[in-house]
């Protein structure tokens, strides 16, 4: 796992991908910081967090698209899968490499806290919980990206499908209770089920707690368990490939 982690992490910065990811993230984050915090002269980072998590939808797929798709296409997966390492080790190595790049991005924006601190009195605990939420959500998106990348040989398909799914998870909260209103009579149960499902998947509802500075067990468990689920699915997909 260590070898794969190190190779993957270095690979992000050997190609432009890591730099593009960081540049896009920093550009958008700084823009939000200037508009939301500096212009309105507030130390509340609540809106900053909910806005900045939006950029994840677009940059996380960049980070994860090549992980397994490229290996499969260039047949380098033959090296990994015939080496004396477990498949879970391969998946975790790649996962942690992507998570580390994400961590660099997130931690670097903590510079803003210093700026806030020199002009006002930010509440550190609230801000750190916000950062924790941002990070957990990022890792969840990464696990989705890894899973979709393991399903295809094409980086483009991996990226676009990751984007579509994260996008849906993100905006599904604005669909609240639409289906049960729409579907009357015989199909009402279906509408209710769909609403429940969307309510469950809607990431915003879980993420809001973090942005408000509330550390709840449920949303933490939500992100961590779903991340683990997608990593497990990725392992299964790769294992299953041998049996095709």
């Amino acid at each position: 796992m260590k070898a794969i982690f190190r190779r993957e992490f270095k690979a992000y910065f050997r190609s432009p991908i890591g730099f593009i990811f960081l540049a896009a993230f920093f550009f958008y984050a700084s823009l939000m910081f200037v508009f939301i915090n500096l212009n309105s002269q507030t130390t509340l980072m609540k809106y900053f967090f909910s806005n900045i998590s939006l950029i994840f939808i677009f940059v996380i797929p960049i980070l994860t698209m090549r992980t397994f798709a490229e290996e499969k296409k260039s047949k380098t997966d033959q090296l990994l899968l015939t080496a004396p390492v477990k498949i879970s080790g391969i998946v975790l190595g790649k996962f942690f490499a992507a998570v580390c790049v994400l961590l660099i991005a997130v931690v670097a924006t903590m510079f803003y806290i210093l700026v806030l601190n020199s002009y006002g009195e930010p509440v550190f605990s609230e801000i750190f919980i916000g950062y924790l939420g941002l990070f957990l959500m990022g890792t969840f998106f990464i696990s989705i990206g890894l899973f979709l990348s393991s399903l295809t040989q094409s980086q483009v398909i991996a990226a676009v499908s990751t984007l579509a799914i994260i996008f849906f998870l993100w905006f599904s909260s604005s669909l609240n209770f639409q289906f049960s209103n729409m579907m009357d009579g015989a199909f009402h149960w279906l509408g209710v089920t769909l609403d429940w499902l969307i309510e469950f998947l809607a990431i915003n509802n879980r993420f809001t707690d973090f942005t408000l500075g509330v550390l709840n067990f449920v949303p933490v468990f939500y992100f961590v368990s779903l991340t683990a689920l997608f990593l497990l699915l990725t392992v299964r997909v790769i294992e299953k490939r041998r049996w095709k």
Binding site: K2, A3, I4, R6, R7, A11, R14, S15, S74, K75, T76, D77, Q78, L79, L80, L81, T82, A83, P84, V85, K86, R242, W243, K244
Partner: protein, 394 residues
Amino acid sequence: MVEIKNLTKKYGDKLAVDNISFSVPKGEILGFLGPNGAGKSTTMNILTGYLSCTSGEVKIDGYDILDNPIEAKKRIGYLPEHPPLYMDMTVSEYLDFVYELKGATEDKKEHLDKIMEAVKITDVKDRLISNLSKGYKQRVGLAQAMVGSPEVLILDEPTVGLDPKQIIEIRDVIKKLGKDHTVILSSHILQEVNAICERVIIINNGRLVASDTAENLGKSISNENKFQLRVAGDERTILDALENIAGIKYIKSLGRKETGSIDFIIEAEPNMDVRTPIFNALAQNSLPILAMQAMDLSLEDIFLEVTQNPAEIDAVYESVSEDEVEMVASVSDSAETETQDDEPEAKTEIAEDVKITEDMPAAECAETAAEEEETADSNIDDSAAEEKEEGDPS
């Protein structure tokens, strides 16, 4: 060391590997022969744990590849058909990574330096793999398989894409490795297998069709008594001169390849050396011999031997061999125009070939024909290389 029992692999309905069993003792170099699509790569992928078999079992040093994959894989070095190289790394970075990945315990610098020296990639070690030529990539792939000194080396067509000089070098490396490793090597070039392997397995359509030592296999279908002859003079006169030599099974005229000369294929009875009588007979009639060359057997010849029923063999044999002579002739001809002339002929020969092997399924025939062209090409490379090695072209 390697044990394979009743190995079967199905892709949907298609049977890729059909009930293959064999075992390879420690320190043996086993050649794995078969045309494209015969199931060589599939078998190798199963041996290394990349694919799973539908039924059967694979044991490496007593460890089952499915039940105990980590232990089994520790003992295997694998060079797949396409070397699994990361294009964005330099050669030494890549080998470093493989070293870590395999959890090798040797002294890193010394071990990797030794491997790079053995496959002669030391001078490109700081270059990006994406910038290397195909031959170098192939060698980096071989180096990768050697990292960690695994006891079993599985090499899928290790000399593909190399020039003749490199082929000889890599063969030497493999031979050396065979002294303290078990090597399984696939190829569709007979010379290669002959030169390196102690034992040969031939598979076709996923089935094992022959398994023997290279020597025995060579002997049973050997054709050392068949050779090609180029004589200056008139066809009629030459045939008259050769007519009375005892021990000639048949003479077949191939027509004019070079101005003022005729080419023949001559086959002698078993255990008869007719070369001296032929020389004497022609010399008496002042018909100068311009070339006399033993005919190399290609994999296809052997392959057809073991896969065809006996009645068909002779017919197939002739046309295949002719085809080969055609190729040899076009190489030895210095005039380019003649080489061009030869090409359409070669094609018709192949077409004939396909006709003869009518009994085979159509797809297979086409494959065999394509394969023939390819192998004939590589044969030329090989014979050229071997001549070079001996330092005596004649």
